[in-house]
């Protein structure tokens, strides 16, 4: 029995090392360079797919699985990778399973070649830069949120893990939407300047950040919202694929990782 455990540990170690050498180049748009990533393994694929069983309305399990994979499989520091980088990374990790995905559209299943989508993104997509927005004596800097921030937000704010069955009435829906809305903005705002006082939001807790966002002028919030929507719209255009007379959007969700 002891021999078996020794042999097994040796085998596990050997396979882990070999799998670690199974790396490939992944283009990360915010860095505008390629970075070595290990392919996902069968265990990680299962972790992602288990996200499809998550009844939480926030997709926490899926987000967490993807974050862990990026952290474990990337050869460099990931702290400055953004949620837009995450989309590109997921596409390139998925391409190793197969470069074709089937997307259900109405009653049809459409084959989408994700290598084409990746290529288009690599050649034409430009990651947003920091933007400064002003309103009277208040100015803010916004930037797509880092995945590390998203993880922190999920772990500290979304702790109650609300499920679809917990939504009982329209007030519940309103609270969830408004919290999510404020949360998304809080993730994107890096700093806040009032007159000459600069507050780095990243040094605050998410609950504190959300309190600040709630007190910002509505016109400023609207400007942030417009820019965040523009970031999403731009990347969605790349993820939208035309097939004959149909148009489908490639969604990065657990089912996207089924080979």
């Amino acid at each position: 029995m002891e021999d078996n455990i020794l042999d097994f540990n040796k085998a596990l170690n050997e396979l882990s090392q070999l799998a670690n050498n199974y790396s490939f180049d992944v283009w990360v748009p915010s860095e505008n360079k390629t970075i070595k990533f290990n392919e996902i393994n069968a265990f990680q694929q299962k972790q992602i797919l288990s996200g499809s069983m998550d009844t939480s309305i926030y997709s926490k399990k899926f987000n967490s699985a993807i974050y862990d994979i990026i952290q474990n499989n990337c050869s460099e520091d990931i702290s400055k990778f953004t949620i837009l980088d995450k989309i590109l990374i997921c596409l390139q990790l998925r391409e190793k399973i197969s470069n074709v995905i089937k997307i259900q559209n109405n009653n049809d299943k459409i084959d989408v070649n994700i290598s084409d989508v990746i290529e288009k993104l690599k050649t034409s997509y430009i990651h947003p830069k920091e933007s400064e927005l002003k309103h009277n004596n208040i100015s803010i800097t916004i930037y797509p949120s880092y995945i590390s921030e998203e993880k922190l937000y999920d772990d500290t704010v979304l702790i109650d893990n609300k499920k679809a069955e917990d939504i009982k009435n329209t007030d519940d829906i309103q609270t969830i939407i408004s919290d999510a809305f404020i949360g998304e903005l809080a993730k994107s705002i890096k700093n806040l300047k009032i007159d000459d006082n600069v507050i780095e939001l990243t040094t605050l807790t998410f609950k504190q950040r959300m309190k600040l966002v709630e007190r910002m002028p509505a016109s400023l919030i609207q400007d942030v919202l417009n820019i965040v929507s523009e970031w999403k719209k731009t990347i969605d255009e790349f993820l939208t694929v035309k097939h004959e007379d149909q148009t489908v959007l490639v969604k990065i969700d657990p089912l996207f990782f089924i080979g």
Partner: protein
């Protein structure tokens, strides 16, 4: 017939396991034929017949590591040496009894030739993976998988024999699954593709090569695997008992140990003797 001697030799085609073995005895033959009728639970049935077949091989430990298709080969092969290479089934076709003659050597060839052996080896720049059907010792794990895609895919680690120099089959299920989970997903995709192609290979085999059975497909995850084993475990129990009755002058303990072929030989002697005694007249107990 002596318990100590295993007078036949066999090398299994996929696992390359070598063993000596012997014919089944009359007693085994009775148990094999009765068990196909008495066991409703497929796991219990395979457990039972596995023990019978294991008792007639010399290399008992390695026998557990032959794969499920090799076990089927062994059952057919053993039937050939114990009972002859042909088998006759009587069935009803369009309201009339029809005889179906099976050539067991042809059936062995059909199954063996149906599998594209190149599917059993997968090579990438860093990995050499050897796959094959799950081992006989893993049969409970396979049969307990529900016949749905997710359960079947989750049991694919049972198809891994070796990865590079790492032997999977002597590890625990948990260990095998952990090692499998370490493999890069592009390799897993290749493994799954090959396993599905192997399934397809078997789906396309017309095992019996006759129209009557053309829809009978060999699939280890469905009941067809058990049904095929049951076909080759089919013996006419009434005839066996009739033969034993006719040979009741012989030592019954000895008679239960002889193989079906040897028993038939004694029966032929007996019939010839009876014919001689009755002056060449018709024998009331004739088996023909």
């Amino acid at each position: 017939m002596d318990d100590k001697y295993y007078d036949y030799f066999l090398e299994f085609p996929y696992s390359k396991i070598k063993t000596n073995y012997k014919e089944i005895s009359t007693k085994d033959q009775l148990y094999i034929s009765k068990s196909r009728l008495t066991f409703n639970d497929k796991v219990e049935y395979i457990k039972f017949i596995k023990e019978i077949y294991k008792s007639i091989v010399k290399n008992k430990e390695d026998f557990e590591c032959i794969d499920l298709i090799e076990f089927l080969f062994f059952i057919i092969k053993n039937r050939i040496i114990s009972n002859g290479p042909s088998m006759e089934l009587i069935t009803e076709v369009n309201g009339m009894n029809a005889k179906i003659n099976l050539n067991l050597n042809d059936i062995l060839k059909n199954i063996f030739n149906g599998l594209d052996m190149s599917l059993l080896n997968i090579k990438t720049d860093k990995f050499i993976v050897n796959i094959g059907f799950p081992c006989l010792k893993d049969f409970e794990k396979v049969f307990n998988s529900k016949n749905n895609t997710i359960d079947i895919i989750n049991s694919f680690y049972l198809f891994i024999k070796t990865v590079n120099n790492i032997e999977f089959i002597n590890l625990t299920y948990e260990q095998r699954e952990m090692l499998y989970n370490q493999l890069p997903v592009s390799l897993i995709v290749k493994i799954k593709e090959n396993i599905f192609k192997i399934f397809q290979n078997f789906e396309n085999i017309n095992i019996f090569n006759i129209d009557f059975f053309k829809n009978f497909k060999l699939n280890i995850y469905s009941d067809s695997y058990i049904e095929i084993i049951k076909i080759f475990s089919l013996y006419d129990i009434e005839s066996i008992h009739r033969e034993l009755y006719l040979l009741s002058d012989m030592n019954s303990e000895y008679l239960m140990k002889v193989s079906p072929t040897e028993r038939k030989l004694y029966l032929n002697f007996y019939i010839a003797e009876q014919k001689q005694k009755s002056g060449g007249g018709a024998n009331p107990f004739s088996m023909e």
